[in-house]
Amino acid sequence: MVRLEKRLNPNRTVAMLTPLLAVLLTMLAGGIMFALLGNDPFEAIRVIFWDPLFAEPFASYSRPQLLVKAGPLILIAIGLSIGFRAGIWNIGAEGQYIMGAICGAAAGLAFYPSESPLIFPLMVLFGGLGGWAWAMIPAVLKVRFGTNEILVSLMLVYVAENILAMVSTGVLRNPEGMGFPGSRNLGHWDAASNPELIEGTGMHWGVALSLVVVIATYVMMTRHIRGFHVRLAGEAPRAARFAGVNPTRIVIFCLGLAGALAGLAGLFEVSGPAGQITIDFASGYGFTAIIVAFLGRLHPVGILLAGLLMALTYIGGELAQLLLGVPAAAIQLFQGMLLFFLLAMDVFTNYRVRFGTTKVTA
């Protein structure tokens, strides 16, 4: 018989080792898949995990790109993780990300072509507000009517996608774009652009903010009463109420923060790497961030690492397609396997495996 016994404290060494083991298992299973598809498995694995970091001529370009890709994922995932800790299931970050980008870009474009230094701060403000307001819809409905936030936030993703299509072919359409959909390119307008802060590092305002947020969240969750309340609300809702935690406030705080961070991620993306509002601006960051949040075990540092790992599989996966002709679907499957193995390994962090014929009381 094999049975599991909960560890009183998650084992740190195991917590560090299991992700490595999971990555090794993924390489093994993924290698078999690549071999079946007719690729050299060793080469495929190397191109995905090694080349983006160390093989020139790609590495010096893709190392900074890791930050660019991971930045929004981390920013959104941190916001979501705080809600998840409190038992608030916002799975509509994608919608909040889109609305943040739209509101922020619209706030800036209203003043085109002004070169005022206030434009970018204004856009940041409206980006955060847009995401916050979009998240307030499920928050208020939950507080006021007890409506399930999972469903409302998910439905609002589809509404946001429709609004995105509407504004990119409507009010935000570039008047000089010959009728084509899509806004002006913010990257070509100095007052509104979010460029690399230091050339060649990939570090833009959004990446910088995500690093700050990682630290701030760590401090809040471990040292601050608000963090304690959030954890209490999630782990022992009844005890939380006795401790004077106002559940309404927790809902408003968690959804609002997650929405604002997702909105900011959208704004920094649209003013930086993406450049413009288009029909296809949304690229699934909001959903991928949910995976990142759980891969990082809802811990700020874990999320930082998970975001970087996820970004690596994206960029490495692109290289594998380009250099080896691996189909995009195989990369998707590979990412799914990595996720499965990482999640499966979680069990060893939180539980002790006991072998032997113990009498199980059931």
Partner: protein
Amino acid sequence: MDLSAIDPALLVAALMVSATPILLAALGEMVVERAGVLNLGVEGMMIIGAVTGFIVGFNTEVPALGFVAAAFASALLALAFGLLTQVLLSNQVATGLGLTLVGLGLSALLGKPYEGMKAPTLSQIDFGPLSDLPFLGPVLFGHDPVVYLSLLLVLVVWYVIKHTRVGLILRAVGENHDAAHALGYKVVRIRLAAIAFGGSLAGLGGAYLSLVRLPQWTEGMTAGAGWIALAIVVFASWRAGRVLIGAYLFGGLTVLQLNLQAAGVTIGVQYLSMAPYLITILVLVLITSGKGRGSHAAPASLGRAFQQSR
């Protein structure tokens, strides 16, 4: 604008066909959630069902076999989720999302040789003169067997959950797994069975898309149907009858907005395309804010991991 061009009977008949895939998938997911498990991988299971159904239907030229194979394949994939979440106690939300990634990737690889092909499809059941009845003919007697099967399944699931011992145990496990365990029920086994059942229905829904609704295989062809099925479960507040209403309402709104467009209604097309989602939210608010809120609550153990020797 010419609203008289819309024939209500044809509209209802069209929405029944359009809603069948999400109805099947949502019904399965409802059973899973009733057992206290949240599986967000419906999209992945549907598309695996779609590709398996197509491959088997195409090669055997027997669509029914395609449906059976689809149910098995998706149940198998669902059991991978079950193994991770129930035995290895991984987080259900993240595992479900991972399941979708795996399903989308795997189906695309498996389906490569079948792109652009046509599969044999199910024909309508012949009801003779009944099909020619006004209104009732196209609505009740003009469909393929799977439409009727999906309605029958709604009835069966409703009956089993509400009136049988199996249903009682399922609900007990979903409401309070510790108590159910104390009463001697095998929580993990029951949940695995529910997960497999949910997977097989999602597979049937996917196969309906690839063998009847569209009949074709194209990468990513479910295009979000699995997510809508998830929404319908919550919308239905975990009741079989309401799953039917939810699926038909949702399918109906999509069909209706396209019909309104075709009839030349010019009030903002883009508002019409987001209407199904907005109305779902509205209805949800109405039912949760009304009387008897307690009866709409989610299963108490939903999404929580169960660990035996606590």
